[in-house]
Amino acid sequence: MQQLERSFYSKASMYSFIVVMILIFLMWIGTGQFSHVDIMLFGYVIGSLVFAIGITVRMVSWSLRPATQQMLKRSFVNMRNRKRKKRNITSILKTAVDNIVLQKFIFKRGIYRGITHWLIAWGCLGSFAITFGLTFGWMHFSLIDAETYQMVVMGIPTIKMAADGFLAQMIFEGLNITAMMLLFGVLMALIRRSTNKDVKVTQRPEFDLMPLYILLAVTVTGLVLTVSYKFLGGWMHNYMALIHQITVVLFLVYFPFGKLFHLPIRPMAAGVPMNYQEEVQVDTRGCRRCNTPYSSDDQIADVKEVLGLQSFDLQLADGSYLSDYCPACRRRMRVMKQLNLESSLESPYAPIQTMTDVQVPGFGSPRADAYYDNSKGEKEND
């Protein structure tokens, strides 16, 4: 592996190379040695390849950051630890259900935001699942008799349903439903981003709005396709398919490099209950100075190690580290040092004598206006 790695500029380029080779090989098999490549779908091929390279590069460089690596390392060690089996399973399930399926924490940031995000997230994931599932042939429908369809997933027959039943309708309309979810979600997000004053001052338009515009383009062109074949007898279908393809390629190419890249990062949230905090807001490690619980031993060990790896020297004279103290004590220690308060005070009511002895509290008498005049102020201070 090391020798292989040396033939590349970096780990990221090596993995991208491998991923692309695998994809091309799969395509070679799937298309019968490239004999029936559908030129109409060529954009999707290019888009997917760029998508794969982008995701690989971004994921590799992300996981190589010392902090990320430490988190992953500890998660994998803990996952293999049999004694922690129960904690691991509950952490993963709880994170999956609360954070990914229900996205509870976003609903806590606001019901409107929760609904928006949930619609966009599941609209996207659903559309992806259906498109990939159908195009790669992972799932298909077979007609058992004149009235009944059966869903076949990965070659395994699953549920049967009446061909004109409610369930069948829902499944055949799946892509349209997810597209409508996306459309509503994106519109809600755009409304919030253009009316909410708080968001307007803090957002980065390119970063926060770009993904919404791209998603909107994908959804609208996709829905127009449906309208075209359902109601207009395929009018302009070819052109619309091409435009849809362009938007999807744009989306795929943008995905790894923009805001949407948070998707592959989120599952790491399972590491928090698994490694650091079994229950939310229950801390087990006490502060070295005031003994208030503020964190857990494992987490502080990780923080120290990550800081050490990046040559942050936060060790104090007595051998303890700043991260051994709770945040409130850390703030206080800094101020006490600065104000020369570590030694005993003259009197509780006396003014503070700082280290330099230069500045004595002066808010009793306002500064002369001249002080704020730069040229004069300079002389006065020197």
Partner: protein
């Protein structure tokens, strides 16, 4: 931006106007991001305001496994990107000054960002614009230099020069955003 946030802890009178102002700032959700605390309640009435140092090489961002803490081109260290923060609180424990706060409900970290939406236009951050005793000031680089000169000895404690890694030892009383 060529303005500096200048703190003089000993001028603090503990009125907490800065915290009230912070709650009003855009997108802060009525939660303050700065601190006003007693140094040692039993010994002295001295309080101090505490804001983020906007480190050049921020420990908080370095310990964040999700890479959620971004630094703007002016050098302001922003709150965690809401979409990335996984809520581990590493930043809170990594920061040498104990600055980042954590919202357990919404599962995200939030911290002082020097009111980036204001300070990027050279408008004083909310806290500095209300402090009645000038403990927090948002001043020109030159003025900061002249104030600092009076405190030069500070940086010579024990005859050493502070570096990015140990400046907390040397009483870093100025901090801020440099345009270069």
């Amino acid at each position: 931006m060529n303005k500096i946030m200048y703190l003089e802890f000993e001028r603090c009178i503990g009125c907490r106007a800065c915290q009230a102002a912070c709650r009003e700032c855009g997108d802060h959700d009525a939660k303050e991001r700065n601190y006003v605390e007693h140094v040692d309640f039993m010994e002295s009435r001295q309080t101090f305001p505490m804001m983020c140092m906007q480190c050049k090489d921020p420990a908080c961002a370095r310990v964040c496994p999700a890479n959620a803490i971004q630094i703007t081109e002016e050098g302001v260290v922003l709150s965690a990107s809401e979409e990335k923060c996984i809520g581990c609180r590493n930043c809170t424990f990594g920061c040498p000054f104990g600055i980042p706060k954590f919202d357990f409900e919404a599962n995200k970290m939030y911290k002082c960002d020097m009111c980036y939406d204001r300070s990027k236009h050279d408008i004083a951050p909310m806290c500095a614009s209300v402090c009645p005793s000038d403990a927090i000031r948002f001043i020109d680089f030159d003025e900061m230099q002249s104030l600092r000169r009076r405190r030069t000895q500070l940086n010579l404690v024990e005859g050493k020069k502070p570096t990015e890694q140990d400046k907390w030892k040397y009483v870093p009383e100025f901090f801020g955003v440099y345009s270069d």
